[in-house]
C-alpha cells in the first residue's frame, strides 16, 4: 500500500538534503531510488526514440524530465509506465521489475500517470470520474456488482475521499457536471485529482502545465508541491522552464533519446550541454563580418532562385 500522507513537514528541505551528495552527472546513483531504469531502448523503424543507459529517480522529491521537442521524453514516460514496451532494457519500481507487466498493474503498484492531452471521461460526471479511480473496488467484479449491499459502504467511503480531493482542487462546484464540459485547465486539475484517488507513491505528470492559464498555473504548482509534502514522489515532463526552476528538486535532461545531464535546476540550466541541446551547438558563437556577408549572399541567392519560397516567407513569420 502507498505511504500514508504526512501533512506538516518541510519536504523541500528534506529533498535538498537527500540529494546533496548525488553527483551531477547523467545516470547518477541516488540514495533512495523509487524508480530505476537500465539500458532502455525504443526504436521506431530507423529512429531511435529512446536510448537511456541508466536513470534513478529519488523517492520523495520532485524530478523534472526536460528536453527539446522530439527528445523522447513522452516515449520514455510511456515505457516507464508500461504503456509501450521497449525493444530492450529493464526497469523497476520499488525494486519490482516492470518488464512485460501490463499498464493497469503498474498503476495498482502505485505508479500513476497523467496524459499530455488530458483524458477526462467526458460523458461521466466529475464525481464519477473520481469514483472510478479508487482501487480495490469490490463492486467492479461482475457478480458482486449485482449485490449493492456488498459495495455500497465502500462506494460511500470513496465518495467522501473524492469530495475531499475535489474541494482541495477547487472542483467541488463542478461535482455533478459532465467532465467534458470542463475547461482545459479544469481538466488538468481533474486528471491530477483523479490520479490521487489511486493513492500513488509515484505520480507521473506528462506536461501538467500545457495550455493552462497563468493564474491556474500557480495553483497547479501548489498542488504538485503538496504531493511532495504528502510523501509522494513526482516525475514530470515539462517545457515550462519557470515551472521547472520553481518546483523541481532534481532535473533530468533528455536530448535525442539520451540523458545528457542531471542535477539541481540551477546547475542544469547553466550546463553548456543543456543549452546546446535546446538551442543547438555554437548558437552563441559570434560571426565575423565576412561570415555574415557570405551568409547574406547565400540567402539572397536561394531566394532569387526560388521565388515561390520568397512569397511564403511572410506567412511563415506570422
Amino acid at each position: 500500500m502507498p505511504a500514508e500522507p504526512v501533512s506538516t513537514r518541510n519536504s523541500a528541505a528534506e529533498a535538498l538534503t537527500a540529494l546533496r551528495d548525488v553527483p551531477r552527472e547523467p545516470g547518477s546513483k541516488k540514495p533512495d531510488a523509487i524508480l530505476v531504469a537500465d539500458d532502455i531502448r525504443r526504436q521506431f523503424g530507423g529512429l531511435v526514440a529512446v536510448d537511456v543507459d541508466h536513470l534513478e529517480v529519488q523517492r520523495g522529491v520532485i524530478t523534472a524530465l526536460i528536453g527539446p521537442n522530439g527528445a523522447g521524453k513522452t516515449t520514455f514516460f510511456n515505457l516507464l509506465t508500461c504503456f509501450d514496451q521497449p525493444d530492450r532494457g529493464a526497469w523497476s519500481f520499488n525494486g519490482r521489475p516492470l518488464g512485460r507487466v501490463p499498464a493497469y498493474k503498474v498503476a495498482r503498484l502505485g505508479m500513476v500517470r497523467t496524459f499530455q492531452l488530458t483524458k477526462v471521461l467526458s460523458k461521466l460526471s466529475v464525481i464519477e470520474n473520481m469514483r472510478l479511480a479508487a482501487t480495490g473496488q469490490s463492486g467492479e467484479a461482475f457478480l458482486t456488482a449485482l449485490l449493492p449491499f456488498r459495495w455500497r459502504s465502500q462506494e460511500m467511503a470513496n465518495t467522501d475521499r473524492a469530495d475531499d480531493l475535489l474541494e482541495r482542487f477547487k472542483l467541488d462546484t463542478k461535482r455533478e457536471d459532465f467532465a467534458g464540459s470542463l475547461s482545459g485547465g479544469q481538466r488538468k486539475l481533474l486528471e491530477m485529482a483523479r490520479a490521487l484517488m489511486v493513492e500513488p507513491e509515484l505520480v507521473m505528470l506528462d506536461e501538467p502545465m500545457a495550455g493552462v492559464n497563468p493564474a491556474l498555473k500557480q495553483s497547479l504548482l501548489g498542488h504538485v508541491k503538496t504531493l511532495r509534502d504528502e510523501g509522494r514522489s513526482v516525475l514530470f515532463v515539462e517545457h515550462d522552464m519557470d515551472m521547472v526552476r520553481d518546483i523541481s528538486d532534481w532535473v533530468v535532461v533528455m536530448a535525442q533519446g539520451r540523458i545528457v545531464a542531471e542535477g539541481p535546476p540551477e546547475h542544469v540550466m547553466a550546463d553548456p550541454t543543456v543549452i546546446d541541446a535546446y538551442l543547438g551547438a555554437h548558437h552563441d558563437a559570434a560571426l565575423t563580418v565576412e561570415e555574415e556577408e557570405a551568409r547574406l549572399r547565400e540567402e539572397q541567392a536561394s531566394q532569387s532562385s526560388a521565388p515561390a519560397t520568397h512569397e511564403e516567407h511572410p506567412k511563415e513569420s506570422r
Binding site: T81, F83, P102, A103, Y104, K105, A107, R108, V112, R113, T114, F115, K119, V120, L121, S122, K123, L124, E128, N129, R131, L132, A133, T135, Q137, G139, E140, A141, F142, T144, A145, L146, P148, W151, E155, F178, G180, S181, R194, A195, M197, V198
Partner: protein
Amino acid sequence: MDWGQIFEFSFRSALTSDAIVYSMAAIGLNVHFGYTGLLNFGQAGFMAVAGYGLAASVATWGLSFWVAVPIGLAAAVVFALLLGAPTLRLRADYLAIVTIAAAEIIRIVVGSVSLSEYFGGRDGLQEFNQSFDALNPYGRPLDLLLFRLRPDDAWVFTVGWVLVGLTVLLVWALMRSPWGRVLKSIREDEEAVRSLGKNVYGYKMQSLVLGGVIGGVAGFLVALDQAAINPENFSTDVTFFAYTVLILGGAARVFGPVVGAILFWFLISVLGNFFTAATAGVDPLISPVLMTDTQASLVRFIAAGLGLVLLVIFRPQGIFGDKREIALDAR
C-alpha cells in the same frame, strides 16, 4: 381502406415476435456499443450460434431442450471469446470488421449443403421446441384488446417479454454499479481507464460476452417464435435493424432498446400495411403508375431509412438520450 385492420396488424407487430426479438438483440448491442463503445456489427452471429446451438442440440443430436438451452448460451460465450481474444487489444474498428465477417461465416456455414445433415441447410431445423410448448399454460387464444394471439404465440409472447424484463433489470443493476462505471469509462477513453489500474481488456471481454449472451437469448426467441430456424433469420440486416432500434430508443439508456424496438416495428408495420392497402384492389388509392402492390412492401424500408436519417440529424440522442451528451462530442 380499413384503418382498424391496419392498426390491429401494426400493434400486433409492435408488441409480438419481431419487437421482442429486436428488443433483446438491441439490449445486447446496448451493452456492447451503448455502454462499452464496442462496435459489434455481428449481433446476428451471436443470435445464430445460440439459436442453432439450441435447435441442433435437440433436433439433430436428440438432447433434452433443457440441456440445449445452456449449450446455446455456451456457444454464444465461446463465440464472444473467439472474436474478442484477438481483437479487443486492437483499435475499435478491428472488432467491427471481425464481427461482421464472423456473423456471415456462421450464416453461410449453417446454411451450407455439406453440413445440412446437422443444420438442415437452407431449410433450417424444426421440431425442437416440444418441451417448451408442453409447458404452455394457455389453452385458449389470448385476447389483448388490440389483437388476439393463438395459444402458442401467447406463450412465446409471455416468455419473451418476461425475459426482456429480466434482462432490462439485469442491465440496469449492472450499469449503476462500479462495474458499469468501468464500462462507461472505457467507452470514453480506455487509456485513461488503464492508467487508473483497471484491466480494460478483461472488462471489454466481459462486456462482449454479456452482450453476446443477451444476443443469444434473442436467437432463442427467433427459434421459439417460429418453431423453426433457418439461415435467413440471421442475415446482416438483422444487426443493422437492431442498431436502428438502439439508436432510435437512445444508446446507453436502459429502456432505449425496448421502446426503440416497439416504435420501430410499429412504424415499419403501419407504413407497410398502409402502402399495401393503398395499392391493393381494383381502384387503389395510390395509382399503379406511382407504385404497384409488389413495390408497396419495399417502400416501407425506404421510408424507414429516411426516418433514420432524419432521426440522426434532428434527434441524434434518440428518444431517451440526453442532448447535452451529444453536444460534448462536438467539442
